[in-house]
Symmetry: C2
Subunit: 235 residues, 2 copies
DNA sequence: CGTTCAATTATCGTATGCAATAGTGATTAT
DNA sequence: ATAATCACTATTGCATACGATAATTGAACG
């Protein structure tokens, strides 16, 4: 009775392990991801690691360059803006779909979740951030739309990566009160208000957590003012 | 001077070939996809075929079952609804993003495209359908949002698959006049009207092209009435 | 001392091989 | 004759192997 797992399950495990490691910043943005050392570490061959890389690359969590292998994605600010924009659009759709269609049990579950968030609000551990994210995932799940859920999950995890790069350290991403208001509007069946709240909520997440609206990653942009002040002329 | 392509390019080629074959219904929904015969046919090994399957599975064009391999996806009507709903949400976002931001060149390109659609409207060849789809892709491209483009492409190709299953044969998916109106609204910068037009447009695509609200794919469901009429009792 | 070029090493891209599982047809027992 | 069983084949899941490309070191040279 050898304890062999279901086939395909190991590839999934590798995928999930890497995904978590990236989102929790154990693997930092830009970090190189050699296939064989990772495979060795996880006890699988390069084949499965590559498979996981493929999925993660599609989701925008890793970048693959030909003959140069994979590395944890380091989104530009432009990509970040794209992701946030799409996420807002998706979650407005979530709100619109859910407005007036929440069962009592679902509403109760959401409120229980918000209470958890409230409790964890004090400590700025990863707990608070995780709960904030899960609230949005829960909402997407409740739509019953599998594709919508997948897209929200994907853009959500990319947002985590982005905030890991550009966000201020201990910002608890979501305001609990805004979550409460949203539940209220969904319950009331006010789709317009719900989508508006969601939109505003996600916008404020960006402005609250994002440091400056413009951080130039390019060395030239960083050095340009210094060069000018010294009378040097960048080529 | 060996004609070796860029690395990773062959995997991409396999992916694109299969994708096209599925969308054009050369590979019909539900059809089994054995790794080695496909690899043999395309001149690559199973490894690359599997890689392509992975991507296609994520995009919902093929289904992978453990130890049973891959087959062309056969979406249920419920999944179809999900896809259309998400696509509507995404394309409303496209319209909203583009409203008032179209350059003159972009508007001209769209109108040229619509003229092509008009010209191809008579013949119900695949040309007409392809052009209809490309209009939406073009719009998504013009947003400059790479993620939005990817999602629109993905949901769009899934819609093709769905219409291949449930759609009536020669329905030219999109009404050209609706495309014209949309361009008009985008040009005028009327975001509300543009999103509304897009929403209505995509809704009417569904109602226009979708055959019956229920086609059962399961053999049991197909055979059940026959069994009954013959006095047989399905277990 | 810095630079360039060559050799080495590390890592990737892809093909192939092997064990395991599901499907298929023959065989046998009832 | 039908149903159950078993052997065989086909196909998958995963690992490994091999050639190719890029990174790196070191040496020779300016």
């Amino acid at each position: 009775m050898s304890e062999s797992r279901a086939p395909g399950s190991r590839a999934q495990s590798v995928y999930k392990a890497l995904r978590r490691a990236i989102i929790e910043q154990a693997l930092k943005p830009g970090m190189k991801l050699p296939e064989d050392s990772i495979g060795e570490q996880l006890g699988v061959s390069r084949t499965l690691v590559r498979e996981a890389f493929g999925r993660l690359a599609i989701e925008g969590l890793v970048e693959q360059k030909p003959n140069k292998g994979a590395s944890v994605a380091y989104p530009t600010l432009e990509e970040a803006r794209d992701v946030f924009d799409v996420r807002r659009g998706l979650e407005r759709l979530v709100a619109e779909t859910l407005a007036g269609r929440l069962t009592a049990a679902q509403a109760a579950e959401l409120e229980a979740h918000v209470r958890l968030e409230e409790k964890a609000h004090g400590q700025d551990g990863p707990e608070s951030i995780r709960l904030s994210g899960e609230f949005h995932i829960k909402l997407a799940e409740m739509t019953g739309n599998a594709l919508l859920l997948r897209y929200v999950q994907e853009s959500s995890s990319r947002c985590s990566l982005i905030l890991a790069i550009y966000g201020r350290p201990h910002s608890s991403e979501c305001a609990v009160s805004e979550h409460r208001q949203l539940i209220e509007a969904l319950r009331a069946g006010d789709a317009a208000r719900a989508t508006e709240l969601m939109d505003h909520h996600l916008r404020s997440v960006v402005t609250r957590a994002l440091l400056t609206p413009r951080i130039e990653r390019d060395i030239r942009d960083v050095l340009a003012p210094y060069a000018l002040s010294e009378g040097l002329t960048p080529s």
